[in-house]
């Protein structure tokens, strides 16, 4: 067995925290190797060590049996190691070709025709098609992902690290991606797949390595593990049982969206007469590829994006022309998509953040004033709900890890008498049990009379946790047929607009 990459006894400390503690990883040449673990398990840190972006405190990196020390990521790519991170490095204003060659132009003067020729060859090899002169902003998430892979091939990468590559892709796009990865592997390349989607590991990878708390837990051929055993290795204990989905009792319509037309930032109609009803007590999931109109729908429901025509009613009260402040007072609650930009004020304390969006609600507001004792009590409730780890409620929000921020933000939206919960990727950055906890809390609120509309790019997550799933494609909602209501493949087809 020849190894393309070996990481031996890697340790890395940040201050007093051991992010990696004597971790080893051997990746066989010409295979897809999965690296799994919860958030904070050390996956990304380990990959950054391999990629040259971090220097380990101790340990050795071997490439084709030769010890190597990469000074930086440029050095690593020159030795054939490339990484596609979760957030693509595509610059929307440049053309696809410019993005492809950016930073690896091969000289001060770009020979466009030669570059295009080589780009076409690479694309053909992978079975991709690109209009090299069009702007990269026209690319779908799947297209951007493909371009990222071509960027690595352009730089002659032999070892590719892909961090959650399917997070933004539909099931069919994911299948296509793995088909291309197989092709690459057959040609002798090596792929390290960082993922939390276990079906991908089971279906496409040869070996799987589990990290937990910065330590190596196990490394097995995939043929020797099951979904369940792998999940337990990741969590390090038993799993929270998934909820039993029972039929929702008919208590009337809580959210009635009727034929709304909404424009996107470029003034194009993105929702063209969308209809949706959510029953009281129901948790409805919206499945779809990123950019299908989920963002605009949520903003329109919250009242921060104009509804050009149509109407929205919550609990039989029309709210179409209400300000977002009034909607929040009425009982609308949001778990925002972009936590950093939309959900919190990072420089502010946890206590000040606890009332953001709730500042005009009882008991926080007392006439013109903020009730400081109530704010403090409320912040304690929010922090305790999902056991947010923090160093004091007076500490700035930015001192929290992403997962802990998400716990805090989710609790804030759920605990103050919600009527309608809008949750955009409510489990973003949470581990398996954390995800289950947040969805369980949403379900509990819905049992008590609220309703929830959930957007996630992870169809499996919605299948486990929602009462009903609708698919969104190009601003339109599609209901799956009753007999296919929980059929992964059928919903996947609706997500990409197929029948």
């Amino acid at each position: 067995m020849t190894f393309a990459v070996e990481l031996l006894g890697i340790s890395k400390h940040f201050g007093a925290v051991a992010a990696l503690d004597n971790v080893s990883l051997s990746v066989e040449k010409g295979t897809i190797h999965a690296l799994v673990g919860e958030n904070g398990a050390g996956k990304t840190t380990l990959m950054r060590v391999l990629y040259g972006a971090l220097q380990p405190d101790s340990g050795e990196v071997k490439l084709d049996d030769q010890p190597h020390t990469f000074k930086n990521s440029k050095d690593a790519i020159q030795h054939g190691i490339g990484m596609v991170s979760q957030h693509y490095g595509i610059i929307p204003a440049l053309t696809c070709l410019q993005n492809l060659i950016l930073g690896a132009e091969g000289g001060p003067i770009v020979k466009v025709s030669e570059a295009k020729k080589r780009a076409d060859e690479l694309a053909k090899r992978m079975g991709f098609e690109f209009d090299w002169d069009s702007d990269a902003e026209t690319l779908s998430p799947a297209g951007a992902q493909k371009l990222e892979i071509l960027k690595l091939l352009w730089r002659n990468a032999k070892v590719m690290i892909l961090d959650e590559p399917t997070a933004m892709l539909s099931p069919s796009d994911s299948e296509a991606l793995f088909a291309s990865l197989r092709k690459l592997v057959d040609e002798g390349a090596t792929v390290i797949l960082v993922t939390h989607r276990l079906p991908e590991v089971m279906d496409h990878c040869k070996t799987v390595t589990v990290l937990r708390g910065g330590k190596l837990i196990s490394s097995h051929p995939v043929s020797e593990v099951t979904d369940r055993s792998l999940a337990e290795l990741i969590v390090g204990g038993s799993l929270v049982e998934p909820p039993v989905i029972e039929p929702v009792r008919d208590l009337g319509i809580a959210l009635d969206i009727s034929k709304i037309v909404v424009k996107d930032d470029r003034r194009h109609d993105v929702l063209k007469g969308l209809d949706l009803q959510v029953k009281r007590g129901e948790v409805v999931g919206i499945a779809g590829v990123d950019g299908s109109g989920q963002r605009e729908l949520f903003q329109a429901l919250l009242g921060v994006r104009k509804i050009d025509s149509g109407s929205v009613s919550i609990d039989d009260q029309e709210v179409t022309n209400w300000s977002s402040a009034k909607r929040l007072q009425f009982g609308l609650r949001l778990i925002a998509e972009d936590r950093h930009e939309e959900g919190v004020i990072e420089d502010w304390s946890l206590e000040d953040n606890a009332i953001l969006g709730l500042q005009r609600l009882e008991p926080i507001q007392k006439s013109l004033f903020i009730s400081t004792p109530d704010r403090h009590k409320w912040a304690e409730v929010v922090a305790e709900k999902f056991s947010t780890k923090h160093g004091g409620l007076n500490q700035p929000m930015r001192t929290l890890s992403g997962g802990n921020q998400q716990r805090f933000v989710a609790a804030r939206a759920l605990e103050m008498s919600p009527k309608l919960i809008l949750a955009f990727q409510p489990a973003r950055g949470l581990d398996l049990n954390g995800t289950a906890d947040v969805y369980a809390a949403i379900r509990e609120k819905c049992k008590a009379g609220a309703s929830a509309l959930v957007v996630s790019f992870d169809l499996d997550e919605l299948l486990i946790h929602c009462d009903r799933i609708v698919a969104m494609n190009r601003g339109e909602l599609r209901q799956p047929k009753p007999e296919e209501a929980r059929d992964r493949q059928a919903i996947g087809r609706l997500m990409v607009g197929a029948q």
Binding site: E341, G343, G357, Q359, L368, R398
Partner: protein, 331 residues
């Protein structure tokens, strides 16, 4: 923050001493002159307070906008507009009614002068720094023109309005001959305390600061960021207008060409030095006042007055870099 301010003051004094050594003056002697000239006697202290008053009120105006995420460089212009209006109204309506009316009109004038910058920022995303600088030029030239022509006192040699009648002036709160305490400084201090309380305890204060800290998150929290930006800018201008009115009614008794020695620009430094709490405006403006008043005594002893501006400039740079570092280390 208070420790940092102390360190800053020490640093500034060190720079001052070095500068003085270079220009061949004994630093000890000069420092003594500076403090004697500003704090050494009741009379000197009165003068320092007089210099401090407009800086404190203007600093308050800059600070409100700053907390809403807006840098109002236009307080200089809003101050001039307020002062011109106060003098104009005060010359026509006399007595206590005239005083109140002058302040009110000056406040409205300052608000209106700042309003376009607020509207352009909120609804057209035009940067308020650019628009307020432009409005400063317009205000400067326009008030010059008014005082050279339409508002010029009959028979006056210089570009100045007539003097206000004694009963249209705001008398000193305390005047013992040796020591004088004006109303302006009290208004400034009360304003600071009110603002401090408003920011900490009211929902509106919370929302204003949320807009300043993260406009997008504010929008998602049901806060109308645009409205708050427009109001904060106008309020900032209104306060600058009030500062102009007090300068006319309490100290100068008239408006003239070259009325402001740059109070509006010094106030930017006051607001930046104040740090995270509005209370910080009081020591920050007092520091500016001490250097301004002490600088006059230095000049009398043959040291260029500009040395104090150098000190202030150095301190603001240090303050800005301390802030920058704390932002970076947060990552």
């Amino acid at each position: 923050m208070n420790g940092k301010i102390t360190a800053l003051i020490a640093g500034a004094l060190a720079i001052l001493a070095t500068g003085l050594l270079i220009s061949g003056v004994s630093p000890m002697e000069a420092t003594k002159t500076l403090f004697q000239g500003s704090l050494g006697s009741l009379g000197a202290f009165s003068g320092t307070l007089k210099e401090t008053a407009p800086l404190l009120i203007l600093g308050l105006g800059v600070y409100i906008a700053l907390k809403a995420g807006l840098f109002n460089i236009g307080v200089e212009g809003q101050f001039l507009v307020g002062a011109t209006l106060a003098a104009t109204v005060g010359l026509r309506v006399q007595g206590p009614v005239g005083i109140l009316l002058s302040i009110l009109v000056a406040c409205l004038g300052g608000m209106l002068w700042a309003l376009p910058a607020g509207l352009i920022k909120a609804y057209r995303n035009g940067h308020e720094v650019i628009t307020t600088i432009m409005m400063n030029y317009v205000a400067g030239r326009f008030t010059d023109f008014l005082v050279q022509g339409p508002l010029k006192a009959a028979g006056s040699q210089e570009a100045s309005t007539a003097d206000l009648a004694t009963d249209t002036r705001i008398p000193a709160l305390i005047n013992s001959g040796a020591f004088e305490l004006g109303w302006s400084i009290c208004v400034g201090v009360i304003g600071v305390i009110m603002l401090w309380f408003w920011m900490r305890k009211t929902v509106a204060g919370y929302e204003l600061q949320a807009v300043g800290a993260n406009p997008t998150a504010s929008k998602f929290a049901g806060i109308s960021a645009k409205k708050i930006q427009v109001w904060a800018m106008s309020l900032s201008g209104g306060i600058a207008g009030i500062a102009g009115a007090f300068q006319v009614l309490a100290y100068e008794g008239r408006f003239y060409q070259g009325f402001s020695p740059g109070y509006g620009f010094d106030a930017l430094g006051v607001a930046l030095l104040a740090g995270n709490s509005a209370i910080g405006l009081i020591p920050a403006s007092l520091l500016f006042g001490i250097l301004a008043k002490g600088g006059v005594s230095l000049q009398a002893n043959g040291v260029p007055k500009g040395i104090t501006s150098v000190v202030l400039g150095a301190m603001i740079l240090v303050a800005a870099s301390i802030r920058f570092r704390s932002v970076k280390s947060g990552d």
